[in-house]
């Protein structure tokens, strides 16, 4: 395997007494797209949200084990969660633009991270919108409220917003599940562009999508990582019967 960006070792996660992730160990390759698939409630979203410690905000949750990002366990006590979240960006399932202008949405992350330089902010906003392939659609209405955009545009705006703070990893939680096929296609093309610069981990419910866009695929079930391989192998000759059953749509 190529460069490893994230090494997860014996990772366990609990919501109260519920054991949601069980001894997950997985290496995530840098500048690749890693798809995570599995039936509902298998823990794939929880796993994704563990990588930027978004689960910290849930009361009664507990994490054990290691998630090592660039040689540093992000669950160590001396780690600054805020710094982790800046390095590991996230795009949510339901696009969540803030009720601000398009410009302010993208500039938001820069401003909270203390950037004051107006020219730099302007430059970054334009660059991020271009990288998120939405610049041409919004360049004439940057001061309009982000809610005026269509669903697909809102989601790409959220991607631009995540890009603006220059993360290294981008987590995507079913980013296209609420979008129509055309908008979905745009997001998928965008992901192919983005992996040149970023490490991408994407949770998806859609098997074809995983097959199309991811380089590696991980199959989760009941909180366990069942199988993890190069996507082409995973979808043609999976080593486990249960993976095959899931991929071919026999359950889930």
């Amino acid at each position: 395997m190529e460069d490893i960006k994230i090494r997860v070792g014996d990772f366990n996660f609990y919501y109260g007494k519920m054991h949601v992730l069980k001894n997950v160990s997985i290496d995530i390759a840098a500048n690749k797209v890693t798809g995570i698939i599995g039936p509902s409630g298998c823990g794939k979203s929880t796993f994704l949200r563990s990588i930027n410690r978004m689960n910290d905000t849930i009361l009664g949750s507990k994490a054990e084990g290691r998630i090592i990002l660039d040689n540093k366990n992000i669950y160590d006590e001396d780690v600054d969660v805020v710094e982790i979240r800046r390095k590991v960006g996230m795009v949510f399932q339901k696009s969540n633009p803030f009720p601000k202008t398009i410009f302010d949405n993208v500039a938001y992350g820069l401003r909270i991270n203390g950037v004051k330089d107006k020219y730099y902010i302007h430059e970054r906003v334009e660059k991020s919108l271009k990288d998120a392939a939405i610049w041409d659609e919004v360049k004439d209405r940057l001061t309009k409220n982000a809610f005026e955009l269509s669903g697909g545009q809102q989601q790409r705006l959220c991607i631009a917003r995540a890009l603006a703070v220059e993360p290294e990893v981008i987590l995507m939680d079913e980013p296209a599940s609420a979008l129509d096929p055309t908008a979905t296609l745009k997001i998928e093309e965008l992901i192919q562009q983005l992996k040149k610069k970023y490490t991408i981990i994407i949770v998806t419910h859609n098997m074809q999508q995983a097959a199309r866009i991811s380089d590696f695929t991980a199959f989760f079930m009941l909180g366990e990582l069942v199988e993890y391989d190069i996507t082409s192998i995973m979808f043609t000759k999976p080593s486990k019967k249960i993976t095959e059953d899931y991929i071919t749509g026999r359950f889930g």
Binding site: F98, G109, R161
Partner: protein, 284 residues
């Protein structure tokens, strides 16, 4: 089938009667006060001191007194109430203690206002030695308003979608940054509306200021926060029950009531306008 239709008509009309009674009562009160009070309302009435044992002259000191006390109430209830609400909704864990605190706050809003008055006497007038004055009365009313402010502010915070918080945190915001930049701006209209409604209620209260600072009659305006003051609701109470020539001052009492109602109405209108304008800004 017939019986069902009959029940339907009957039920609908009973409900209609309920709302009718409420509206009638409101209209009768407003009509009565307006027709009897409007005669004495003049610029002179609003801007001069009471004269001749309060049988003539105006109600300026009462208006000023109520205004001052309401300002102090606001200065206490707004920051404290919003702070408590932010803590309870954003920071506090859902434990037995916080549930107990919440319950206590809800129950405090049901405590009779005279009890707040007594409490104010003990705490502000005696223990903290402020004496009976504008400050003590304002703080007492502030305490009384707090449960309303906290509850309204908490509701306003709850209405801000969680995705605003998460989205902000995911970009590397600290918790306070997320609250300050992406929660409060959208909660403030609701917070303010609830608070102003609480304040307008406080402005019309008599019992809490009765022992803490309101005076029967004063020949001059309050000079500092530690002076006694006259207030509209208390003035009204005196004019209608305690005065030596009640029937003679009846018009002044009605005039005072009208001014008080107008004041409360204006404050509530302010709340509506603030909410409307901030909501519009938010949508733009």
């Amino acid at each position: 089938m017939k019986i069902k239709q009959l029940q339907e008509i009957l039920g609908f009309n009973i409900l209609r009667l309920c709302i009718g009674i409420v509206i009638c009562a409101l209209i009768i009160i407003l009509y009565d006060i307006t027709t009897k009070g409007i005669g004495v309302i003049s610029w002179k009435f609003l801007s001069s001191m009471p004269k001749n044992g309060m049988t003539e002259g105006g109600i300026l000191p009462a208006i000023i007194g109520t205004f001052l006390v309401t300002v102090i109430t606001a200065l206490m209830a707004i920051p404290l109430g919003m702070g408590c609400a932010i803590y309870l909704n954003e920071y506090a864990k859902d434990s037995k203690t916080t549930r107990l605190i919440r319950m206590a706050i809800r129950n405090l809003s049901g405590v009779p206002s005279i009890v707040y008055g007594l409490f104010g006497v003990i705490l502000f007038v005696q223990l903290m030695n402020f004496g009976t004055c504008v400050l003590s009365a304002g703080l007492t009313l502030g305490l009384m308003t707090l449960p309303w402010t906290i509850t309204a502010s908490e509701e306003a915070l709850k209405n801000v979608p969680n995705s605003y918080r998460e989205g902000s945190l995911a970009l590397g915001a600290t918790k306070w940054q997320a609250i300050k930049t992406n929660v409060l701006p959208y909660a403030v209209p609701g917070m303010l509306t609830g608070t102003i409604l609480g304040l307008s209620r406080a402005a019309g209260e008599t019992a809490p200021i009765l022992f803490t600072g309101a005076a029967f009659f004063l020949p001059s305006m309050p000079k500092s926060l530690f002076s006694q003051f006259m207030a509209l609701p208390y003035h009204l109470y005196i004019m209608s029950t305690q005065h030596h020539a009640i029937s003679k001052v009846r018009p002044i009492a009605y005039g005072t009531a009208l001014v008080l109602i107008a004041l409360v109405f204006m404050m509530n209108l302010c709340a509506v306008i603030i909410r409307y304008r901030l909501r519009k800004i938010k949508m733009e």
